[in-house]
Amino acid sequence: MFRKKECVAMLLAGGQGSRLYALTETTAKPAVPFGGKYRIIDFPLSNCVNSGIDTVGVLTQYQPLVLNEYIGNGQPWDLDRTAGGVTVLPPYQAKDGADWYKGTANAIYQNLNFINRYEPDYVLILSGDHIYNMDYSKMLDYHKEHNADCTIAVINVPLSEASRFGIMYTDEEERITEFVEKPKEPKSTKASMGIYIFGRKLLEKFLIMDAKDPSSENDFGKNIIPAMLASGARMFAYKFEGYWKDVGTIDSLWEANMDLLGDNPAFNLHDRRFKVYSRNDARQPQFIGKQATVLNSLITEGCEIYGTVVNSVLFSGVYVAPGAVVRDSVIFSDSMIMGGSIVDYSMLDHDVVVGTGAVVGTKKAKGRKITVIGAQNSIDPGMEIKEGAMIYPPNNITNEEEDQ
């Protein structure tokens, strides 16, 4: 038996995150670690729970193992419910054939039966690649007040960057008049955040139409939204003010981690009014040794720090030996930074060992590039890893010099 829900959230978590290179080699982007003890998907999931949405479908496709394991039964987010809760929705084999999710809209289309079981009035579409805290219930209220068919959350971006986003043109009542995906000469700064609320019936109608169109790319931004606009549907922009960051590239992921630091951080994790939930395992408290120096950093349980850590974010169980220096870096779980080594302006994935006296990256300065070390790599003692290197996890080591 399925209890009716007012709103069901569908979280698109199948993305590969190819611009995170080594960090998404074996992990889907939403499962990429962030902020010391979180993964990217914790943010939309916690937002759902904090907004009173207790039924969430998570659409997975690329490298789902870590992600599936992480979501589990949804217990860390209180989504282990008898009625509703979190459900992982992988692509499946149907009677008339098996298909991968061809696009964002197609993924939702293939799971209309999941949505319909709860007979929701509204469907909230989310993506798993952004860091932000948002109360979706306010957006839903806005949607209802405007008697809208579709509401799209937008955020003001600098005009210079607007051509990277899907841009909304609206009238004075915030009704959307035009939508352009990555415009060359943007005239508006209202960027789509990839958060949509639809009336269920209308969404279903458009998804079915879209699925019948062989020329469609089955994408919300490219197909569904323009088609709805053309049909004259009531579509509104919902302005969001607050921190929001796409963490789809190495640079932006590093920046978003750094945004957590400082006395007045751009994004304040320590605001107790808006809790972000995550799956943690039992680790001992962090130990800071007698000779250690820790400045302007975030450090998590299980860490043992005997060296110097400055302007960095350390995940659980990181070991920094006496004499080691970690600067302007993000280090994922259980990595070991051995004595006398230096890690500068880098991102290290989990279980990396930086040998004695090794040097990873170069001191942060304008024009310098971030160095990335993939999971489970061992950097030999005394070895130097030059600035901007991208080292893939073992068995797949290439020296990629691609532009990030």
Binding site: G35, G262, P285, V294
Partner: protein, 376 residues
Amino acid sequence: MVEGIVFSGLHDDAIPELTRERTMASLPFACRYRLIDFPLSTLVNAGITNVYVIAQRNYQSLTDHLGSGKDWDLARRSGGLRIMTPYISAFAGNAMAKFNSRLEALKTISNAVFSMTGDYVVLADCDGICNINLNDMIDQHARSGADITIAVKKVNVTPERGERSVIIESDETGRITGALVRPSRIAGSHDINLNIWVVSRRYLQSMLHDALSKGLTSMSRDFLCRNAAYAKYMIYRYEGYYASLTSLQDYYASSMGLLSSNEDRNSIFNVKNRPIITKVRNSTPTKYSDGAVVKNSLIADGCVIEGTVENSLLFRGVHVGKNTVIRNSILFQDTYTGNSVSLDCVIADKNVVIRDYRKLSGYETLPFCIGKGKMV
């Protein structure tokens, strides 16, 4: 199958400074744990999933901490965690509702004990810190065919310590010959009872029958001392780290001991396949500001540190203000210290607020305790 019984409040009077508003089992220890985490994790790590926790007084903090038991994987459809609250009948005879010993506590859950079906039962108190390999102890118990096996550790007993301990005497085969219950004027190297026992289930049930019909009240006195010649009681020698918490001084010294010895700390918290599990609070990572100076300290998540912290333990959500200096202190969950505060040898209980410019200090042998929720 093995079942477990945890006695949560048999030692509530040991540290009155900290147990006035909570039972011993929910006494915070080592930045993020409560005492019950140690016996409970020990049981769970040995694969024991049927666990009874006997509660008596001030157990609200305990039920809050344990919840459904899901953090320990004990929220089960069959078995799992059961909190046994005091048994008070609407009819006459509530004598059993209050108890001071293990045997009396077991009488209050006699129905549960008599319905047990496993081979062995593990009994554990909440008064010490250790990470013992219970499976090894259960194996030894099964091999030796003992009725009771008691975990002991050889320690140097001082007269003061002796008065707060049970000393187990055994022969060279490890068979227990007697017990000294809180002896006075004893000193030297002795085996002390760690209050972790493995008992054969049928033997436990027969002891309880005996106790109910004869009005016996003490396991140590009525069984251990009297029956040692007839029944088979064995010791299990534990060599690892053990801290008994029988006074505030013990508590303070054991906490500080975690800072001075990496080996001790790792032998409790860093044992492969035997993690100490506690309630997850979803704290943020701890934030160190540009002005932070932290040395030789154990720190939980969720703290914000803007000042100096040396030789101290900070629990979750502690705030250390600018120019504040914290030395040799233990600050419980959500303690807030303002700017330019100075603390030395202080234990601040939960939610204490210490305002700007306050200077407080105690001494190693008598740390200064600030009660729960107080503002200085």
